[in-house]
């Protein structure tokens, strides 16, 4: 199920503004890759190019190549909707659908995409909620509104919603930034379990978190405000945090920056 991502020569624009320039990297299947870097260097932008969500923003434009195994996501005739089914996404702020119950939120991706039998859906919903470590907390209130959950529960609900459609890759944009340490831990554990099945890419501002959950880490930086963000280096997490090959990385990680 998990797939390899191979990016080469990728530029992303907002209108005429070049937000990230010439990014090339490989994301291994069944692994966790963390993106770190200062605010505004284009981590979110890059993440959103990986499931063609970047072009949803008005003026958003991409050139370059993103290979998912052997298919170029930006090749001719590729349907962005199909891409997004393969590459799921969890956002920084929990965003459950306010009109839907907990159950309907998890089932949303499947229901909105086609017909499923009730029993089939029941199974998938239970499996996904268990996968997101949420089942025990919500199993008695599946029919209550999803927005009635706590922030951490809502974020795990969003993860359950994302994994219910069984993507190959899961992108997470600062999934823990609005959460308390306990919910954060729950989600970090969850990431550890999910990587058995999915390729995971996570953006984080928390160095410890990157060190704890990821196998590989990519450091992004930008020369100055208004300049495009660039990939400085990507390596095994251990190496990045102990002995990075670029000075800027070491400065950023140790807090000597700017």
């Amino acid at each position: 199920m998990a797939k390899r991502i191979d990016v080469s020569g990728l530029n992303a624009y907002y209108g005429s503004f070049l937000a990230i320039e010439d990014i090339s990297m490989t994301v291994e299947p069944r692994s966790v890759t963390a993106f770190i870097g200062p605010s505004g260097c284009g981590k979110s932008t890059f993440l959103r190019t990986l499931n063609r969500m970047h072009e949803v923003t008005p003026g958003g434009r991409v050139d370059g190549k993103v290979m998912l195994d052997d298919e170029n996501l930006y090749g001719a005739g590729i349907d962005p909707v199909a891409v997004r089914r393969e590459v799921g996404m969890v956002f920084q702020r929990p965003n459950p659908f306010p009109t839907m119950s907990v159950y309907d939120n998890v089932a949303a991706g499947l229901r909105l995409n086609g017909k499923y039998k009730k029993s089939q859906l029941d199974d998938i919903v239970e499996k996904s909620l268990k996968g997101a470590n949420l089942w025990n907390e919500v199993k008695d209130r599946l029919n209550k509104p999803g927005s009635g959950l706590s922030g951490g529960q809502q974020q795990r609900l969003c993860i359950a919603r994302a994994i219910a459609v069984e993507p190959n890759v899961l992108l997470m944009d600062e999934p823990c930034s609005a959460l308390d340490p306990i919910s954060t831990l729950a989600i970090e554990d969850l990431i550890g379990e999910l990587k058995e099945q999915f390729t995971i890419v996570i953006v984080t501002h928390n160095m410890q978190q990157a060190a704890r959950v990821s196998d590989r880490t990519a450091f992004f930086n930008l020369a100055a405000v208004g300049q495009p963000g660039k990939l400085i280096e990507i390596d095994d997490t251990e190496r990045i945090f102990s002995n990075p090959s670029v000075q800027a990385t070491e400065d950023y990680i140790s807090g000597r920056f700017g």
Binding site: V81, R84, R85, N95, T99, G148
Partner: protein, 351 residues
Amino acid sequence: MSNATLSAKRSSLRGATLPKWFPWAVAAGSLALGYGISAAAGLDSDIQWALIAAVLFVVGSYAVSAKIEGSRQAKDRTATSLVWVAFLLAVTPLASLLWETVERGVKVLDVFFLTHSMGVVADAEPGGGIYHAMLGTLEQVGLAALISVPVGVLTAIYLVEYGRGRLAKAVTFFVDVMTGIPSIVAGLFILSLWVLILKMGPSGFAGSLALSILMIPVVVRSTEEMLKLVPNELREASLALGVPKWRTILKVVLPTSIGGIITGVMLAIARITGETAPVLLLVWGTDFINANPFQDPQESLPMYIYLQFGAGSDASHDRAWAAALTLIAFIMILNLVARGIARWKAPKTGR
């Protein structure tokens, strides 16, 4: 020592305060004074002494409060009393209008009135009813809504979800222009198109066409506002699940905003229900029951009121007021229904 600082702090935080009944007392005082002054000066209009009392109230409460409580509280009180005065000024005409309509309208308003037409009743005689007018209003407004709601909602969806560039700007501009079209002009437009060019006779449907010209921009505007309120994050969440855009709009955006959209539609309906001009031009009116909105003149409530009032007899005046009461009740019920639906459909937050 700590006790001393505490009490010192307290007194610095707690200034002199006027009692709770103070505004009421000032209000009563200024009412009495206002009445007295105008009686003495020989002013006999209700408005005159009410205005004197209002001014006395605002000035009086400011003066007393500035003396005792200090200037900040006095300003606060002035703002509060200005708000109250404005509120009363706004509500008084409304309340008196309702009162007047109910008082005069209930005289002949009964089941017979609601279930009979004017077919065999001369305008000067008592009797008769508004059945034909209610039927006409319901059909004309219903048809107008049937045309305007899909057109309006789809236009708003286009503008908010798809519209970029010139076409969207042009559509927005035309909607703005349409909002300002006087109803008589809408009526004349349909008259020239439907009756003079297409050679169709007067009918309820012709009236509905003119009413939709008035209703569409209102529906577009209110729906647009509601759609804009839907957070972008929800759209992105749905798109990121691999849901196509049109399904995202249908299953996520519209359900999230449906309460507000329905409220907007109901308000638009309420607005066109009272329109008289297009109906006069295009539906003509009749004293008989005509259930077919596509052929021959029909009656409608506003036109009935207009004609009965113009007939000039006591009996016809009574009927006009009763019809006005029915119209107000109808619009009020629509508004209540809209609120009910909005509350029922609002995104749920409770546990």
